[in-house]
């Protein structure tokens, strides 16, 4: 496999290009104007006030595609402390398994079921997350005495499934 060979030879000199030129070459941009994809400014200064959206599209009341109990979007941070080296880094897969299995992972539901949606007269929609969609910071000493700590989403009913997922770690020591 030569995953980067061709790409390397075709690397654009991004540093010397204005962002507009770079953006113009991005796949997908031409097909669909993207409101926030304007070229970055060289510096900050006031711009005209945003144009008000007079007739915002309605927000669906529910998502039929999202099954109850489905895990949320992922975001979190994991840190491993290796007592032998004293180095902070990412956990090994084994440490991650321990972390996922640790008691104390919050069982707070992350489903969207029952979330209260408020609609204002100007079209604004506010969805109270009811304490869900939080990043939970956990710590666990595994059977080898290694401390694994970090932040993961609470996973509710999907906790077991999550235990079986093993992210590739950044700084395993072995």
């Amino acid at each position: 496999m030569k995953p980067h060979h061709i790409l390397r030879r075709h690397w654009p000199a991004l540093a010397s290009l204005v962002a507009a030129a770079a953006l113009a070459s991005l796949p997908g941009e031409a097909a669909r104007p993207r409101e926030q994809a304007a070229a970055p400014a060289l510096a900050w200064a006031p711009e005209p006030a945003p144009v008000a959206v007079t007739a915002p599209a309605a927000v669906p009341a529910a998502n039929p595609a999202a099954p109850p109990g489905a895990p949320p979007s992922a975001s979190g941070r994991i840190i491993a402390l290796d007592p032998e080296t004293g180095q902070l880094g990412a956990p090994s897969p084994e440490q991650v398994r321990s972390l996922r299995a640790a008691p104390g992972i919050a069982a707070v539901s992350r489903t969207e079921e029952g979330l209260a949606e408020t609609r204002l007269t100007d079209g604004t929609v506010i969805l109270d997350l009811d304490g869900r969609y939080q990043d939970h910071v956990l710590a666990h000493l595994d059977r080898n005495g290694k401390l694994v700590y970090g932040c993961v989403h609470d996973e509710g009913k999907s906790q077991k499934a999550a235990r079986d997922t093993i992210p590739t770690s950044a700084f395993e020591v072995e």
């Binding site: 995953p3 997908g28 060289l42 006031p46 969805l127 000493l141 970090g150 020591v173």
Partner: protein, 566 residues
Amino acid sequence: MRTGFGAVARVALLSGVLAGSLIAGAAGATTITIVNLDGAGEGFNDPAPVAPVGGNPGTTIGAQRLYVFQYAADVWESILPSTVEIRVQAAFNALTCAPTSGVLGSAGAVSVVGNFPTAPLANHWYHVALGNKLAGTDLSANNDINAQFNSSVGLTGCLETTSWYYGVDGNAGSSKIDLLSTVLHELGHGLGFSTTTIGSTGSYLNGIPHVSDHFLYDSSIGLHWDEMSAAQRTASAIACNRLVWDGPYAMQQAPAALAARPVLRVNSPAAIDGDYEAGTATFGPPLTVTGVTQDVVLVNDGAGTATDGCETLINAGAVNGRIALIDRGNCGFSQKVKNAQNAGAIGAIIADNVAGCPPAGLGGVDPTVTIPSLRITLADGNTIKANLPGVNASLTRDPTLLAGADAAGRPKMYSPSTFASGSSVSHWDVTADPDLLMEPFATPLAPGQVDLTQWLFADIGWFRGLVAVGDPAAGRAHLLGNAPNPFGSSTTIRMALQRDGDAELAIFDLGGRRVASLHSGALPAGTHSFDWRGHDDSGHPVPPGIYLCRLRAEGVVESGRMVKWQ
């Protein structure tokens, strides 16, 4: 070892055309309020006396906790502009805990909002703090971010062998948990560095994509997450190297934030030549653009898994002067590389022993290791082994590519081939080098480091309403901010004048006292840069904290916040 190699040259290259970190100058009015939910005598109000630590002047546990939270808030305040107060409801409570495991805390947005009249994108969710900023008004009567941390850590029955570190100098050491970086990271999620779309199923929250989905881009199918089907999003989340962030600000700033990409470059045979993705080591010398080049030899230690390099090599004659190829497993990475070094190797390649991508880094410590090393995937390792002998390779960095970005310069998002709930999608990729605040796996960072993360925030709208000085709408002098920010030993402050004239640039503390004068006198029209090494006018270093840089020119006064962390 992860270093800033390459970044300096790139910053210099860009300094003439890019704004650098403009953010301090733009964000002076932001207020992030820590709403202390703790009762008397507990949490933030814990009266237990402690000695000041690591730049934290608090003399009680409660005061130190509050100082760390406020410090983290100050860092974000100094970066993110909003005229609407951001309220973080926070508490330290006794959370679920046991001697060997426990919840340290949690944080996130209280609510999300969409379709407010000034929303840049209709039918997209925004974290409420960002929605408020864009709307210019408080859309929700509630607070904006939740934050709750465990007050029992280190006490009997709760993770007894460790404790929180309340210093703000990044010196948590090996046995304590750095509260500041944890709070900074978690507040980052609460401020919007997160999609509410479910990566494992591809489902939108209540059928609506998040603004982040507008910039999550799968380079293989040429679609963003808000353009895909759920099945496409699910596939994209585990695509490994395909999921990138194509927001213009993050792309523009990536060359300043990321170093040259570490690669294993196979020079021959022609059948497999090319660059292979590589993870870097925390020990030994850093990879360089010059690199080391030699034939590759598979090690043999004559015991157990003979290619794991855990014992003294018995094929030292073949390894001497060559690059050693070693299988992962059975002992530490540094030990393997040291054994190769003892056999005379000039470099070492660790091939993973489990499938997956991207290749992780090599952790460990051994100051006696003097040869460079890197890590490749199992698949790439097998490719090389299948062509031995006769493989010639270089351990190097490619200055035309960025570590943590694709070939088009788009920063990669973490999307390993196995979905990692809690890590995938809503973090930068682990191949970013230097490390970034919003990577899923924390590694030691400069205290208060915000890095490329601030530019992702620019993409999702945190700096909407702020454009180019060169724009006709500007027409006056401007403070362009400082970089790096936060900073340690020095920072560069940039300013732009529209016409020739007098200008004054000075540093003040939060008490309004002038700390240092950087310039006073005539300057020509154009952009100017001034370095501040964190010293007062007497040449004495000033203590860590928040400082204001103030520009007075062309009849206007403009100031911005800077964070000095050491």
